[in-house]
Subunit: 152 residues, 2 copies
Amino acid sequence: MKNVVKEKGREAGVFSLYLKKKELKLTAQRELILKAFLAHRGHISAEELFQRAREKQPHVGFATVYRTLKHMTQCGLARELDFGDGRIQYEPELDRKHHDHMICTKCGTYIEFLNPQIEDLQEQVSRKHGFKITSHRMQLYGLCQKCQKNGK
Amino acid sequence: MKNVVKEKGREAGVFSLYLKKKELKLTAQRELILKAFLAHRGHISAEELFQRAREKQPHVGFATVYRTLKHMTQCGLARELDFGDGRIQYEPELDRKHHDHMICTKCGTYIEFLNPQIEDLQEQVSRKHGFKITSHRMQLYGLCQKCQKNGK
DNA sequence: GTGCATGCAAAGGCTTTGCATACCA
DNA sequence: TGGTATGCAAAGCCTTTGCATGCAC
């Protein structure tokens, strides 16, 4: 039988299944943090997610957010991003197409993009080296349109 | 090895010029750290560079290494790399062709590569978004040939 | 009930900063 | 000589861990 999870969304299903398999528990905090994470729909730092979780439930601890993010990453719900600013960013991953980022070094905005040709070439290059890719990161740094204009 | 000093290489020139321009001083420590950095010819962490500098001059300080790395990065002699392991790696940049990395997630070895087609496509994509690239990072994560075999 | 989960605080790892002294230009 | 640079240690950041208590299963 295909899909068993209905009203909760596929993510919640994935998460609880993952927890069950690992003999972990589905707690109120984990649900809350997952929900807040998904609701944000974009890059978010642990700190920020912590704030959002706290808005709903003032007792949530920092450590719990970190631990939950680890789990969400493990089961493929979240992806870690490293923009080189010294903190890890997370973004929802499940049911999102893979993509890369252009990051404006002036204002911090980012553009998501996906270029199939580049993805192909990455495969080709690694094959040539006998390397087996499991994931990749690509970030283009520079100036967005707006900042280019303002700079002049 | 006392008479070798004549061939200081272009890097030393770049560095002292940079220092002069910024009205900074060329100290023994800065020379030492630069030399150790260039001698290594590969990725190196601040910690490691600190060790190597200490071998030559036992009371070099940690902070000095960090401060010097900043300067070397500023004047284009070094490039910061972030492999996502929580520490910054540095590599010599001047007179080195730009390249990207494949990193084995099992044994940590890395392969450097450059694919002109990918570089072109990066330019194209960003142009399409009105974005002006100043630099980029691309890391492919996966298993190197050796670890693929050992895994089986 | 039994273990895992939580919250708090404290500890870790890497990097930066403050300060008195040392040293280059 | 004056202003940087240095070394040391302490402080900062982000993240992880320890521990007593709480809670899902």
